[in-house]
């Protein structure tokens, strides 16, 4: 969650709650237009220059939340256009997952060095003197940069004693670790889907709230209300996300009150990932593979696959915690539907993969789940619960925080072979991941266990989280210590035949 972007975050969440309410109350989707008036009432603008644009943008958000594609102003027809295609109870959305809401994008300049009115028109004008392109002239108004000549080297900015020159770019593009954001013919942001790994950074960073992913809460709720047996699997980072007074057990009961049959911690699958990755590391590094990268962050995995095909084989072959946990459910309940609830949006893409799509039927984020609680007026903190949940080990629960995966695998390797000294490196943030993989490609990370996380702070910093990473970190640590299983190998929820041999 981007901490100080309150209005944007609130708009996004109100939309999830609205769609969840519409789905639960079985309202006619043709009347979706009415919802824009309910969400943005009155005639005074609060966020943008006028209320009409606010409603138009929120209308597009409602469509994305239903799983429809983002439209441009040219394509924008009735808000209910194509809505019959998504009024179903199975997964419908198709890539691209992350798109720019063109009518909300303010077409920020790609990169600009700009003179502000701090300029004092000084005699010394060091800005002009250091400019290697002779792009600066001193005019009546002050220093002026000829943008056609400027090569954005930033020297003038450094030299100005009045800090009158600023350099700024697009927050979306600056936040993108894989350079997937380009411009369209109107200068608005455009995502290159061949590069995008759906980490969700740009969604969090755009100060105009102009980028969004698609949701499948509507179809999930339809699956629930149509009587399908839906099981939820919830990522380790869920602790502390649903109200400061809500215990993990209350979250589980709250989810059941939504009409979901039962809930299992994805920490269970995390334990299997740990067991498998530790075994794999011991068997392959360094004899067969020079190093091993963890496999649980899908954006990281996708980034390596797209950008570093030559070292892609060194990413662990073990499945992700989501996949192991969904296998666990479908084995016992073959006719059920599984929804993964997590902090992450790239899991929505992972769930479309051939080997995953039959096991994970829906993916929603914590924010989207929060919207469902609000729509159903469920107060998890007020539910009385008995007992403790115990699906995962201490280190399985620790997957939620950056460094947790490597820690889990390292501890497990130590159990298998106490003499083996494993060196780990944990990388947070997609841009950092790219840098490290460049070094890895050159052989500079040999022998290491590399944990890659596209989000800063790991999963608790994910784009679908409700609370700040700092608070989530504390909650996760407390819950992790409560686990009765010290080692993933002690976890008796795992079917013995699923244990790696």
């Amino acid at each position: 969650m981007r901490e100080f972007y309150n209005d944007i975050i609130n708009i996004r969440r109100m939309v999830f709650a609205a769609i969840a309410r519409i789905a639960y109350e079985d309202e006619d989707l043709k009347k979706l237009g009415d919802e824009t008036y309910r969400l943005i009432p009155g005639e005074k603008a609060h966020y943008r220059e006028n209320v009409f644009r606010e409603r138009a943008v929120i209308g597009e958000r409602l469509r994305l939340a239903l799983g429809l594609d983002a439209r441009t102003a040219a394509e924008t027809g009735p808000i209910s256009e194509g809505i019959e295609n998504v009024d179903v109870d199975t997964r419908v959305y198709t890539p691209p997952l992350v798109s720019v809401i063109k009518i909300a994008c303010e077409a920020c300049a790609e990169k600009t060095v700009f003179v502000t009115n701090n300029c004092r028109k000084c005699l010394a004008h060091p800005c002009k003197n250091v400019c290697p392109k002779n792009a600066i002239t001193i005019e009546k108004s002050g220093a002026v940069i000829d943008q056609a000549k400027c090569i954005k080297c930033g020297r003038c900015k450094t030299e100005c004693p009045y800090h009158a020159i600023v350099e700024y770019g697009r927050p979306c593009a600056a936040s993108c670790g894989v350079n997937a954001i380009k411009s369209d013919y109107l200068g608005r942001a455009e995502i290159d889907d061949s590069k995008c790994v759906a980490c969700g950074n740009c969604i969090q960073e755009c100060p105009f709230g102009a980028i969004s992913d698609k949701s499948e809460i509507f179809q999930l709720i339809k699956a629930i209300t149509s009587g399908k047996e839906v099981y939820a699997i919830i990522a380790p980072s869920f602790v502390g996300q649903f109200g400061a007074l809500t215990t993990p057990e209350q979250v589980f009961d709250g989810i059941r009150e939504l009409g979901i049959k039962d809930v299992v911690e994805v920490g269970l699958g995390a334990d299997l990932t740990t067991l498998n990755e530790a075994k794999e590391f011991v068997e392959t590094v360094p004899e067969k593979d020079p190093f091993m990268g963890t496999s649980c962050c899908y954006s990281w995995k996708l980034m390596v696959e797209k950008n570093f095909p030559e070292i892609n084989d060194y990413i662990s072959e073990s499945s992700t915690p989501m996949v192991y946990t969904s296998h666990h459910i479908k084995k016992n309940h073959p006719d059920s539907k599984v929804v993964f609830i997590g902090p992450c949006i790239s899991k929505k893409l992972e769930a479309l993969q051939d080997h995953v799509k039959d096991y994970v039927d829906f993916v929603i984020t914590f924010e989207e789940l929060m919207g469902m609680f609000v729509a159903k007026e469920i107060e998890p903190a007020e539910i009385e619960v008995d007992g403790k949940i115990k699906y995962a080990s201490v280190t399985g629960r620790g997957y939620a925080v950056g460094g947790g995966v490597a820690q889990a695998v390292k501890e497990r390797i130590h159990e298998i072979n106490p003499d083996m000294d494993v060196k780990v490196e944990c990388i947070e943030g997609l841009a950092e991941c790219v840098k490290i993989m460049r070094l890895a490609k050159l052989g500079m990370k040999n022998g290491l266990l590399l944990e890659g996380m596209a989000c800063k702070n790991g999963c608790i910093g994910g784009p679908g989280t409700v609370v700040s990473a700092a608070r989530a970190r504390k909650s996760v640590a407390t819950f992790s210590k409560e686990s009765p299983y010290k080692s993933p190998a002690d976890n008796d929820n795992i079917n013995p035949e699923d244990m790696p041999k």
Binding site: E3, F4, N6, I9, N10, R13, A17, F242, G243, A244, L245, T246, E367, M370, G371, F373, V374, E377, I378, E379, P380, A381, E382, V466, V467, S468, A470, R471
Partner: protein
């Protein structure tokens, strides 16, 4: 000064967590500086759903400052109420 922040579902969704975080941050930073009224004390309490959102729609987040209810509370609004009270002795001198 006693501040109660509602952390019910609606309020959590609409940013109660960020209000708590900014109040805790105030306590650690500005309120430790010189000039704060020595008798001033900030007591931050979190509460289960106060029920405000069930009476009237679209009021979250809800914060209660010394018995005064703030609807649609923003962190900047609540922080300024706190600081006005904390530096009260300077303002009245």
């Amino acid at each position: 000064m006693k501040i109660v922040v509602c952390v019910g579902s609606n309020c959590t969704m609409m940013g109660a967590d960020s209000i708590i975080a900014s109040l805790e941050n105030l306590k650690e930073t500005i309120l430790k500086k010189e000039g704060v009224n020595p008798v001033f004390d900030l007591d931050i309490e979190i509460a289960r759903c106060l029920g405000e959102c069930k009476i009237k729609k679209a009021v979250s987040p809800v914060v209660v400052v010394d018995g005064v209810i703030y609807h649609n509370a923003s962190r900047e609004e609540i922080m300024s109420v706190v600081l006005d009270a904390a530096f009260d002795n300077i303002l009245t001198k």
